[in-house]
Amino acid sequence: MELLGTIVGITIKSLIFIVGMFLAAAYLTLLERKFAGHVQQRPGPLHVGSHGLLQPIADALKVLTKEDLVPDNVDKFLFYLASLLAFVPSIMILAVVPFGEPFEIFGFKIYPYVSDVNVGLLLALAFGSISLYGVIFAGWASNSKYPMLGSLRKAAVLIGYEVALGFAIAGPIMQAGTFSLREIVEAQQGLWFIIPNILGFVVIVFSVLAETGRTPFDVQEAEAELVGGYVTEYSAMKFGLFPLAEWYIATFVLSAITVILFFGGWNPLPLLGWLPIPGFIWFMLKLFAVFMFFLWVHWTVPRYRVDQITELAWKVMLPLALANIFIVAIWIMIFG
C-alpha cells in the first residue's frame, strides 16, 4: 500500500514535471524572443495573440504538422534516435532537481521533487553527458558535411567542459558533505556557497554557456560558418526537439543547479527572510535571474573559435576549478 502510494505520487509528479517542462520550454522561447527583441529595440512577437502570447502555440502547431522529411542518404535509425537522445536526458535531470522545501496541503506532505537521490548531482551530470551522444549521432547520421563538422565541434566543446564542470562542483560538495541536492541547499541556511566558491562559480557559468551552446561558445550552430550545425538536415519536430532541449530545458535545468549549488536554493535572500514568500517562489525568482543572465550574455558577446574554446577549457577553466577546490579546502580548515 505504502509502495503503491509512492509509485502513484511519483508518476503524478513526473507527469506534472514533464508537461510543465514542455509548457515552460515553449514559453521560454517566447521569453527569449521578447528579451532579445527589447535588447535590440524591437518588441519581439507582438501580433499573434496579445503581445505574442500565442506565438509558441502557433510555432508548435506548425512544427508538429510539417512534413517529417527524412533525406534518403541518412542512417534512419540513428537519425531518429539522435533527436530523442538529445532531448530525453535533459528532461530526466528534472527527476533529481528539488524545486523547494516540502510543504503541507490538505494534510498531505508534498515534496516538490520527483525523487531525492543521495547522488542526485552525479545523476544530473551523467544525464547531461548522455545528451552528447545525441549530438554526435545527429552529426553522423545526417551523412552530410556541415552536420558532421558541427557535431564534432560540439563534442570537443562538451568534453572539455564536462571536466571543468565536474571539478567546479566539487567545492560545494566538500562544504555540504553530500551529493543530495536537497541537503546541499539545506547546508546553505546561513552563508551561501558563492562566497568561497567564487572561482567555481565563474567556471560553472562558462561551462553552462558551453554546454547549452550559447555565445561565446555556440560554435556548433554558428550560422555563418555551418548553416545549421548538426541540425542542418533535421526538419519538423525532430528539429524542434534539439533547440528545445539544448537552448531551453538544459539552460533551465543547469540554471537550477547553479542556484542550488551557489545561491542557496530556496533559502530567502539575506535580510529578506521575514517576507512571507514560500521557498518555491524564492527558488523560481533566483532561477529566473540566472536564466536571464545567461540570455543577457548570449545576446551581447561574439563567438570564440572552436580550438580557442577547448584551449580555454583545458588551460584556464580546469586550473581555476582546481584552485577553487584548494580555496574551499582552506576555507573549511579555517571556519570548519
Binding site: F35, G37, H38, V39, Q40, Q41, R42, P43, L46, H47, W296, V297, W299, T300, V301
Partner: protein, 200 residues
Amino acid sequence: MVRVKYVERPELSNKERILFIDFLKGMKVTITNFFRKTITTAYPFEKLTPPKRFRGTHALRVKNGKEPPSFKVLEKFMEIKDGESRCVACYMCQQACPVPELFKIEAVQLPNGKKRVVRFDMNLLNCMYCGLCTEACPVDCIIMTDIYETAAYHRASCVTHMEDMMKRAVDYDTRRYDEPDRIWIDDKERSKLWGQIKWS
C-alpha cells in the same frame, strides 16, 4: 587638408582581463538599450508615410487645367478631353527608359487628323523605378506616386494599364499635390526612430 595617420591598436590590460571589464561594459550597453523605447513601426497597423519624392508605382496625370505651357503646344495634335490622361504619345518615357520593352504605348490617328492614345501598359516587374521616364515627360503626365503595396498573386496583375494609372494619379494629386517639397513629413512613426529633430 588631407592627412595620413596610423590607427593605434588598443590592448586589453590584465586588470580588465581578470575582472571581465570588457564583457561587463558590453552588457551595460545592451541593457541600456533594453530600457530604451522600441523604434519599431508595427507595419499593418501604423505605416510610414513615404516622402514627397518617393518613387513608387507610376501614374498618368489627367487634363485638369494645371498643365505646363508645353502641353498647350503639343495639345493641338491630340484629341484629349478633360479628365483624360495628358499623354501626347511622344514616346519620350520609352526612349528614356533603360528597359524600353516594359512600355507598350499605342496611339491611333482619328479621322480629324488628331492622335489619341488607346493603350499605355507598363510591366512594373521590369521597372527599375529610376525615375528617368518622369524626367523625360515634357507635359508632366507620367509621374511616380507613393503607392508601394502592389504585391500580387499573378504576373499579369503587375502590368498596370492606362485607366488604373489615371485613377492613381487623381487619387495621388488629391492627397499630396500641394504638399511642399520637404524631405519628409515629421509624423509620429518617423520620430520613433529619429527622436525630436529641430527644424530651422
